[in-house]
Structure formats: C-alpha cells, structure tokens
C-alpha cells in the first residue's frame, strides 16, 4: 500500500501478512495509545515523526480491523474521522480567509499530545525504578510502640471513611433494583398486523417496507423485527404466505401465497 504500511510492521522479524491482520485493537488503551505505538514504529524521535504518514497508518489500521469485522469502539472512529480531516488539511494548501486551524497546527497539537503521553509513561517507569520503600529502602523493621500524643488512638483515614460511607449507600440500593421494562410486540399482535399489511398482495414486498411505519421508533425496532419475523415463519408454516431472502442479511421479501386450485 503506502510506505506507511511497511513502516508499522517493520519489526525485527516481520510477521507473515496473515498474522498481521490479527492485531487486536483491544490490546490498546484507546486511540492515543495506538497512535503512539504506530509513531514509535517510525523509529525516529517523536519530534520528527511524519504526522501525515501516521494518520495514514492509523486509518489503514482501523480499516483492516473493520474489514475483519472486529468491533471498534466509538472513540477509535472519532479519532479516525479527525485524522482524515487532519490529512485533508495537510494536503490541501490553506485557502485565504480560512478560519479553521491550519493542518500544521493540528499536526503540532497531535505531536504534542503523543510526546506528553510518552513522557508520562517514561516518568512512570522512572518512578517505579527508583529505590522504593519496602523494596530497596527500609523503614524500621521493629517500630517501638510510641505514639505521638496529638494523634488519636483510633486509626482511620479519610479514604476509609468515604469507602465506608459509599459502600453502605450502595448496599441499600441493590435490593431495590428493578429491571427496565421494555415494550414488546406480542406474537399475536405481530401476526395480526402482518396479515393486515400483506393483505392480498401477491407481489414480493420487503418486510421492512411493510413495517416502515412501525420502525420509526428506534427503541422498538428490535422487538418489531423479531416478533414479525417469528410470526411470518408461523404464517409460512400455515401456508398463508411465501417468504424469500436472496442473500445473507439481505432484506426479507414476502407475498400472499396463491391458493392452488385443488
């Protein structure tokens, strides 16, 4: 594809293409984490990364993942949209009187965020590598029971207090949980409506076309589809209608079965 593609899989032992596609998006802690990982694979100082290449790599990655029908969290897609925008800003020269931030400015911002995240990661590992209490540095192993008068004899921290309060309030709640009631189309209702809608039509008409009035409310879509589909199978069994589907996940077509002259 692009030069980018070769870059991000440019690891010491490049894995076969088949394996590459199995990259698990779930292994990343959000789009920024993924971007930082891709940027690192450019093997240059973060200050010198090509933001354009990075955007292309990210978009290619997300495309790959989506082709594999892997569920991609919304924030990855938001980032993809933003990067596509950034790409367009970088490739098209800024028109005069354009108030939008320039591509260079957006790129600098992204670079800043990547550098900042990497800096915090490095800081975290530097912290953990310090001689830590209880690991390389020790306190008195056998402290003597001398207590400072100002302190009370009871030990409790603000955290303990808040934890105690929160867990009590939560304890009270679980008992009162009531499941959300959903509207459900009964099979009988679905059957009646279907019978009425199909009427005597002997032309193939898609189920959704029949139900278009009923599908308006998104919250009811699932139950409307499920109940009418179940009812339609029943009607087929009883020889009332014919049903046809030409491809997987394609629309369902229905028509009244012609009464065979006996």
């Amino acid at each position: 594809m692009t030069q980018a593609e070769t870059n991000w899989f440019d690891t010491p032992a490049p894995p076969p293409a088949d394996e590459v596609l199995h990259v698990d998006v779930g292994g990343y802690e959000g789009p920024l984490d993924l971007l930082l990982d891709l940027a690192r694979r450019q093997k240059v100082d973060l200050a010198n990364i090509s933001v354009l290449a990075l955007a292309e790599q990210y978009l290619a990655f997300i495309d790959t993942v989506r082709e594999r029908r892997i569920e991609v969290a919304a924030d990855y897609l938001v980032m993809a949209a933003w990067l596509a925008y950034l790409k367009s800003r970088l490739m098209v020269p800024q028109a005069q009187g354009d108030d939008e931030p320039s591509g260079e400015m957006l790129a600098a911002m992204l670079q800043f965020r990547l550098k900042r995240l990497e800096a915090m990661r490095m800081a975290a590992s530097r912290l953990m590598n310090r001689p830590r209490l209880g690991f390389q540095i020790y306190a008195r192993g056998e402290p003597e029971p001398i207590e400072i008068a100002r302190r009370s004899i009871w030990e409790a921290s603000l955290y303990d207090l808040l934890k105690a309060y929160s867990s009590q309030r939560e304890r009270g709640i679980t008992a009162e949980y009531t499941p959300r009631l959903r509207t459900v189309w009964s099979l009988q209702d679905a059957r009646d409506i279907l019978q009425r809608l199909i009427g005597d039509s002997v032309e193939w008409v898609s189920l959704d076309a029949y139900l278009v009035d009923y599908l308006a409310r998104p919250s009811e879509r699932a139950t409307v589809r499920a109940s009418t589909f179940a009812s339609s199978l029943e009607l087929v069994r009883q020889g009332e209608i014919d049903i046809r589907q030409t491809e997987t996940f394609g629309p369902l077509f229905m028509r009244r079965r012609r009464k065979e002259p006996r």
């Binding site: 008195r140 001398i146 808040l162 009270g172």
Partner: protein, 221 residues
C-alpha cells in the same frame, strides 16, 4: 569514629553500615550468624556489633543484646520519658467507621436515622466509642416524638481527617468520579449536605440532665 584510613578501614566502615542497616530493617533481633551472609567471608561480626554498640552508647537509641540476638532499642532513660505518652493504636471497627461516616454526611442525625441507613441496629458502644474518641458529639434533641438525641461531628473529627470544613467532604459526583461509588446508581440516590451550623429549626438544645445520660432510657417519653 573509625580511625583507620587504609583499605581495611573502608572495608570495616562498609561492614558497619551493612550491619547497621540490617539491624534497623529487621522485624526481630538478629544473631551474628544471620548477618554473616551479607558480609565478606571471615568477617568478625561480633566485633562489628561491639563497635556499633559503642558508637550508639549515649545516643537516643542503643544497640542492645537480647539473648543471642541484637536489636536497636530506645535508650532506657528516654523510654521512660516517651512511654508516658504511649497509646495503643487500633484501626476503627467497621461498624464504628460506618456509623461515623453516616453521622458526618447526615448530621444532625438521630440513632434511628443512622440505623435506617446502615440497615442494622447500632450498638450503644459504637456511639460511645466515637464520642470517647472525640469525633462525635451530641448536638441537641430532635423536636419529634421521643425527642431523640441528634449527633454531629466535632472539630477534632475535621482535624483528624484533614478537612477544613464539613463542606470538604466529597459529594456524589466526586465519589463516583473516584470510583468509590459505582456509576450505576438510581437517580433518587442523594448525598446530603452535611450541616454544621448551630441548632437547626427542628432541634432543641440538650437538657442539662442529658450530660450524664446521653440516650433516653427505653420507655421514656
């Protein structure tokens, strides 16, 4: 302190530092044999211990022998001085912690109100303990049937938990934001605003007789 300047002096100094650190960090007295593996082969650990003991003589802590083992201990003359202030520290029981937290948020709160939130009866000992600790006080009496005593927190409570005022207690969103409360809470769940002013409209001052008798006896009207 260790007069030698040559290589032997450096080794000795280093060995002394190691013995010192080992004894300090150990949770029980150490025998010379326990320390030997940390030191060069053939090191005279007992000799080192005697040097160290001499160095700490007259200081606030001394190196003392306990049977076969050695340990740092507060100098005896200071032990007497410090023991005067000695307290036993114990973590607050869960019941006490829960009761205290309810009083903090819901004050002024009666015992019945505390029990309603907790869902269990609160032993009289729990409130006594919290009052003895100086964190909870009787504020007044609720102007309802039975005139139950209302409880609130004290200045010492604020002091201990590092709060400037009761309003420093985090609210619903902060408790959620920090993960202390789960996000799935019914909308009706409210966290009250702690009240720390003087007596509220529905509170009467305590009776003089209350001072010795915090809770109304059963049957009292």
């Amino acid at each position: 302190m260790i007069g030698m300047e040559d290589e032997t002096g450096d080794v000795l100094r280093r060995s002394l530092r190691i013995v010192e650190a080992l004894l300090f960090a150990s949770a029980q007295p150490l025998r010379a044999a326990d320390m030997a593996p940390y030191l060069g082969e053939g090191t005279d650990v007992n000799g080192l211990l005697l040097v160290l003991q001499a160095q700490y003589e007259g200081r606030g802590i001394n190196l003392v022998r306990r049977g076969e083992g050695w340990a740092f201990r507060t100098a005896e003359d200071l032990g007497f001085l410090l023991r005067r202030e000695e307290h036993e520290t114990r973590p607050l029981s869960r019941a006490a912690l829960e009761t205290l937290s309810i009083i903090a948020y819901h004050q002024p709160a009666t015992r019945a109100e505390i029990e309603e939130v907790r869902g269990v009866a609160t032993g009289k000992g729990t409130l006594d303990l919290l009052m003895e600790a100086g964190w909870v006080r009787m504020r007044g009496r609720r102007r309802t049937a039975g005139r139950p005593v209302t409880y609130g927190t004290t200045e010492a409570f604020l002091d201990h938990f590092g709060l400037e005022a009761l309003s420093d207690l985090p609210g619903l969103d902060e408790l959620k934001g920090s993960g202390l409360l789960s996000g799935r809470l019914p909308a009706y769940l409210q966290i009250p605003l702690p009240f720390d002013g003087g007596l509220r409209d529905d509170e009467d001052p305590l009776d003089p007789s209350d001072l010795g008798d915090p809770e109304p006896e059963d049957g009292e009207i």
